[in-house]
Symmetry: C2
Subunit: 299 residues, 2 copies
């Protein structure tokens, strides 16, 4: 399950709830495009802003809409007891795997982060992907911590933060982690602008934000890298640089939220307050970028 | 209300719920000691780890146990709609004021942080204290953002992060902020080890963690500073340096959790997982520090 393209859709919502119809349509498009897995309720799916009930319902909708495509469900929360409840809900809904980021309010010690994964994996019957996302959790995993967690039962994958831009540095990074974790644990990359580099450096999975809205575009890059054509993967990524630039500047969530609305796949306002969409001038620039790249509803 | 010592008690809990009896006792002790206000459900009160229902119940318990002492209730949450619901609950419970930190998962822009305060203050009928706590929220308030928010209705106070250690630098910091916000907005300091410096530099309030367990000790320091005796305030703070050192190293929450348990005022385990208490050797060191400072249940 943890190979190739894992596409992370938005969970479109308003202040009164999830737009369930739009959500099912977004997920269904990904399955039709042939992505390898779907990451429901990831950061791009705004899991942190939803109640337990909303998350259980969203998991069921995603799994139904995904049909045969495996769905990885995000179960992160600030408190261990909440994570355990979310894990139960995700498994009941039929999740093929779960994704867990160590959310924080009080900064956590390494032992506390490890303890969270230990307590959760003890109760799990599906595989778990460790979600290392310092930009949102402010947890900085050391390699030693990765190694400790990767040795726990059910741990089957690690989603690492953006790989270094430089190909040699990226390879070194992936090999260093690879040497510390069991062979059964897949290493995958996030930070879409580093996907080509990360996959070429030995990552087995791309946890992709752009793939949650433009699955065919992300699949082309993924398949090129999987087929060993690093030059083609790099060229496909370089072509998308105007979009990557907006991701880095405004956050990929805000950019994809706006793109989904532009394509008619979500309402104009689809993020949870206090998050705002893009400002009008930035939105105009995004539309120009999407047009220039021929990125549309069939991409 | 936003002058002098605002004492922040723990909310002792287990994985099955809040220890309501211990909580009421902790709050009651503060009122008896004569603190100027009580900060219920602050960071030290682990607000971020509790459900809406638990927080509404804790607010009611605190307000009842505080009797005539004003209670400031923390209403922070990741989502604006949750904050609005918590504000309503706090006001219904009889809160004298509310405290709002901009919690984050996705990093927020300045406009998003401002929008949160704008949306919340529009609905409030009690005063609000802006809680600037980059260590937990990862929001870095600029002075310009403070000025924009301080001009909103109901904003009556700002709780700033630790003041600079140096007296002149602290005075400069407080005066710079003072010049930007209305005279009606009180500026208060947090980071207990900088309280003497902060109060002497012109802060009107000390939002105190140590005061949540050792109110008489914190009151002595506060009254000295309020009376213009900077040397005495500094001496009282310097005496507590062994405790401040542990706060800085292990987090004041873990240290106070352990101290409360040592004094028999909370169960041995009273923090929400994944947070752990202090390791046994650190706990022993804390007991030595408390004994050395004569800090006991009547302090």
């Amino acid at each position: 399950m943890f190979t190739g393209l894992s596409a992370f859709p938005l969970t479109p919502m308003s202040e009164s709830g999830i737009d369930e119809q739009a959500y099912a349509r977004l997920v269904s498009r990904l399955a039709s495009a042939g992505v390898d897995s779907i990451g429901a309720l990831g950061s791009t799916g705004s899991y942190a802003y939803l109640s337990r009930e909303q998350r259980a319902r969203a998991a069921r909708i995603a799994i139904e809409a995904a049909e045969e495509t495996p769905v990885i469900v995000g179960i992160g929360a600030l408190r261990t007891s909440q994570v355990l409840a979310l894990a139960e809900d995700a498994q009941k809904a039929g999740a093929s795997a779960v994704l867990l980021a160590p959310m924080t309010y009080q900064p956590l010690t390494e032992d506390e982060v490890f303890g969270l994964y230990e307590d959760v994996t003890r109760e799990l019957s599906v595989p778990l992907c460790v979600y290392d996302n310092p930009g949102t959790t402010h947890v900085h995993f050391t390699d030693e911590l990765h190694a400790r967690i990767a040795a726990l039962p059910q741990v089957a994958a690690i989603k690492i933060p953006p790989a270094p831009d430089d190909a040699a540095a990226a390879k070194e990074r992936v090999q260093a982690l690879r040497a510390l974790v069991p062979d059964t644990v897949a290493i995958g990359v996030s930070g879409d602008w580093t996907a080509a580099t990360g996959l070429t450096a030995g990552c087995e999975t791309w946890y992709s934000v752009v793939g949650g809205l433009f699955p065919r575009t992300a699949l082309a890059l993924t398949r090129a890298a999987q087929g060993g054509d690093a030059a083609q993967a790099t060229a496909l990524s370089e072509r998308l640089e105007p979009l990557w630039k907006m991701f880095r500047h405004h956050g990929s969530l805000r950019v994809m939220s706006c793109a989904a609305s532009h394509l008619g796949l979500a309402a104009e306002t689809n993020l949870p307050l206090p998050l705002h969409g893009l400002a009008p001038d930035t939105r105009d620039r995004l539309v120009t970028v999407l047009d220039g790249l021929n990125l549309g509803a069939s991409s």
